[in-house]
Symmetry: C2
Subunit: 121 residues, 2 copies
């Protein structure tokens, strides 16, 4: 892929549809995905990998079984592999995820919320 | 490591010394490093890995042999592995780097600017 500068807020503005993951960058075998969300997601884990959330717009919560973290724009959190978590966006937010290629948004839980159609923006 | 929320701007404010890379997160075998810089760096490449730059404060330039990219706060760029590049911070800026553990800032060029003492903040 051609070398390019990616402006996170500009990319966020390009996303109009909720809950569709968009590819914005790749680093070796890692993908950087942007998603606009407004939902309480499902409990799941990724047995094979850590996963990073970075809030680009708005705010979100990341629930673990024993604790809930509040995240605002400009904040990131790493979910260790194998740890159950549930992202919660009570208001619309845009989040960048960083994880290895092939990591599913629903992890080990699967189901109809699984999004495998990743489009580059 | 304990799960924690990392606020990039707050971490940037904690850095007073120039050109010392600080660890702020790990994702599998990848490290997230924050550095405050004001210098024109040296030409180098990383034969084994891509490298990502994300501007947290200020602005910078990333020079390739055939092109120079301007980056502002909130913008990222991926340097493909093996491609010569030179980061340039004419004014003070704070940048987050993402790359595999063990990647040296000077890549294949080495020399006295190599920083191997990474402290967590």
């Amino acid at each position: 892929m051609e070398i390019r500068v990616v402006n996170l807020e500009e990319k966020a503005k390009m996303i109009t549809e909720l809950h569709k993951y968009k590819l914005i960058a790749e680093l070796n075998d890692y993908q950087f995905k942007l998603v606009r969300a407004k939902r309480e997601f499902i409990w799941h884990s990724h047995p094979e990998t850590d996963e990073l959330f970075f809030v680009v717009e708005g705010r979100m919560q990341l629930a673990f079984r024993d604790k809930i973290f509040d995240l605002e724009k400009g904040e990131l959190i790493v979910v260790p592999k194998g740890i159950e978590h549930k992202p919660i966006c009570n208001e619309e937010c845009t989040v960048m995820l960083i994880e290895p290629k092939g990591t599913l948004n629903t992890g080990n839980s699967g189901g109809h919320l699984t999004d495998t159609e990743l489009e580059w923006i």
